[in-house]
């Protein structure tokens, strides 16, 4: 077993165990902290895929912004649901079954894929310059880039509108 394989297995184990804890632990705040560990594991895997840029972006966006916002929302709504009442619904067995079927299907597709046993391509250091240019290039990815920008603006406006305190007197 080589060095990268050991690192991959460790990171994958941490990611997967943390993800399972996210969906099973009864205390919601702990689930949020496990989510952070899982996201950090994904960031390590991104580094293994030779994309340090996306790994750092993953930490900056997911851990610093999304996970912290989720935990903040948990603390704001703490009174609504105590940690002692059941956290999973009556259909959890069916849900687990459905998830297992989906996973089995995905694994079957992976086993059928001809490229599954391939090793990585030789040189793949992503040039940040090239990425930046491609995002605003008319022949490149300007359409997804602009759509993402519009989506973010819409989300910004929508979030403010939805969460705004209702005006007094109506």
């Amino acid at each position: 077993m080589t060095g990268p394989q050991i690192i991959f297995l460790a990171a994958a184990a941490v990611t997967l165990i943390a993800a399972i804890m996210v969906v099973t632990v009864p205390r919601l705040v702990h689930a949020g902290l496990w989510l952070i560990l899982s996201l950090a594991g994904i960031a390590v895997l991104f580094i293994m895929l030779d994309n340090g840029f996306l790994a750092v972006v993953q930490v900056a966006i997911y851990i610093d912004a999304i996970a912290i916002l989720i935990i903040l929302a948990m603390m704001l709504t703490r009174a609504a649901m105590s940690d002692t009442e059941p956290q999973i619904n009556r259909m959890w067995l069916a849900s687990a079954f459905a998830s297992l079927i989906i996973m089995a299907g995905l694994l079957w597709i992976v086993s059928q894929a001809p490229a599954a046993s391939r090793g990585p391509l030789v040189d793949a250091e992503v040039g940040l310059d090239a990425l930046g240019r491609a995002l605003v290039d008319v022949d490149g990815f300007i359409l997804p880039f602009e759509i993402a920008s519009v989506l973010l603006v819409a989300a910004l406006v929508g979030a403010i509108l939805v969460a705004m305190t209702p005006a007094r007197g109506d």
């Binding site: 705040v29 851990i63 610093d64 935990i71 603390m75």
Partner: protein
């Protein structure tokens, strides 16, 4: 003359390989040793930092400061540290044990992690990744997580209030900070920290982008949570904020973490805007670079202490209004103007520094004009509503 740090690195590597170690193992081992040494050095700096800060604040407030333990009280921090270590770490009843213990560790880790990409001297940098500045933002914000964990695991309402304030303040001040940091990235054409320093050979970025420097300085002080932005531990309102339940070494870690964080933003400011290790004769003597870097960092740290001990604490609504109504729009304007003018000026062959300085001056004048108009209208409104009271008090004095 070749660079001394590479020489030392090569020497140790060759020595270890000569002792019969494999090349790859040596590489990994040296990296680990380097990380430990850097982390310990930064941690040890805190001893001097705390002493210097207490002494300086005391002098500014016309006191003497620590002067009993050792010459000029320089051993006071060590005495305090020993006291903290020997005290028991109390875990309050109903607290979330593991989260409670992890919180100070995460705060300190997040701060020391920034030093991994800090260019200390030419060729002396922990890891010269090409997304260094993004890494600084990403790792620096992990401290917020630690503070929030401390607040929610303490089972104390003041700690929770402190954590809420922290998250509100830190998340919002990240926005102008990132916008301000984009300007040096744009000017240097890279996010790598050593490239940013090298790009400041002719002109420091504080000359090219003074407004961005000021925005970064203010928002990073808010990010550290120092006066005038120290609402997260406002003693008069929420006792001590998030670390109210901590004692012993756990409290000591929060304390040290805060001082190192302040020192780190001083170092970041000197790297990004004051040219880092750039200075006279640095090409021929790379060791001078380390000296310049430390000098600039201590100067910025002095400014941080100066601000802290001079300005009063501001209210939470003022903090958010200041950020969202003033800093963020200003940062956006500066960012867009710099982006357009930098491109146009370089293409038209103008002097880059002159154009950018003029643009910054115009933005400052415009901002001051707008603020004055706003203040005048506010004052008029207040005068209209307050006039009857004024007349009544005059009548009473008669």
């Amino acid at each position: 003359m070749s660079d001394p740090f590479t020489t030392i690195d090569q020497f140790i590597k060759n020595l270890l390989i000569g002792l019969g170690l494999e090349a790859e193992v040596t590489e990994v081992a040296l990296n680990i040793v380097g990380a430990v040494v850097l982390g310990l050095l930064v941690g040890a700096t805190a001893i001097i930092l705390i002493w210097a800060e207490r002494k300086l604040v005391a002098r500014i407030q016309d006191r003497l400061g620590p002067n009993r333990v050792g010459p000029y009280g320089i051993l006071q921090t060590i005495a305090d540290g020993l006291k903290l270590v020997t005290k028991e770490v109390l875990i309050p009843q109903g607290a979330d044990r593991y989260v409670f213990i992890m919180a100070p560790l995460i705060v300190v880790t997040g701060v020391i992690g920034i030093w991994a990409v800090m260019p200390l001297a030419p060729g002396l940098i922990g890891s010269d990744i090409n997304v260094g500045l993004l890494y600084v933002i990403a790792v620096g914000a992990i401290g917020t997580l630690g503070i929030m964990m401390a607040g929610m695991s303490s089972n104390n309402k003041y700690a929770l209030l402190g954590a809420f304030r922290t998250v509100a303040q830190m998340l919002s001040y990240t926005v102008p900070m990132i916008l301000a940091l984009l300007i040096p990235v744009m000017l240097a054409g890279s996010m790598g920290m050593s490239t940013i320093v090298e790009a400041q050979g002719s002109a420091w970025f504080i000359v090219l982008a003074p407004l961005a420097a000021i925005i970064f300085f203010i928002s990073s002080i808010a990010e550290v949570g120092r006066a005038p932005f120290d609402l997260l531990e406002a003693e008069s309102e929420i006792v001590a904020g998030f670390h109210i339940e901590y004692s012993g070494i756990a409290f000591g870690m929060f304390f040290v973490g805060e001082f190192i964080h302040a020192f780190t933003i001083a170092a970041l400011f000197s790297v990004i805007f004051l040219g880092g290790w750039q200075g006279p004769a640095v090409e021929s003597f790379p060791l001078l670079g380390l000296f310049y870097f430390i000098l600039k960092t201590w100067f910025m740290y002095f400014v941080v202490i100066w601000v802290r001990s001079t300005l009063p604490r501001i209210r939470i609504d003022q903090i958010n209004a200041f950020n969202w109504k003033f800093m963020t729009p200003l940062a956006l304007v500066v960012f867009m103007v710099t982006a357009i003018l930098d491109k146009l000026a370089v293409e038209a062959g103008f002097n880059r520094a002159a154009v950018l300085l003029a643009a910054n001056a115009i933005i400052v004048l415009g901002t001051l004009f707008l603020l004055r108009a706003y203040a005048t209208s506010q004052r008029r409104r207040l005068e209209v509503t307050e006039r009857p009271q004024v007349q009544r008090s005059e009548a009473a004095s008669d």
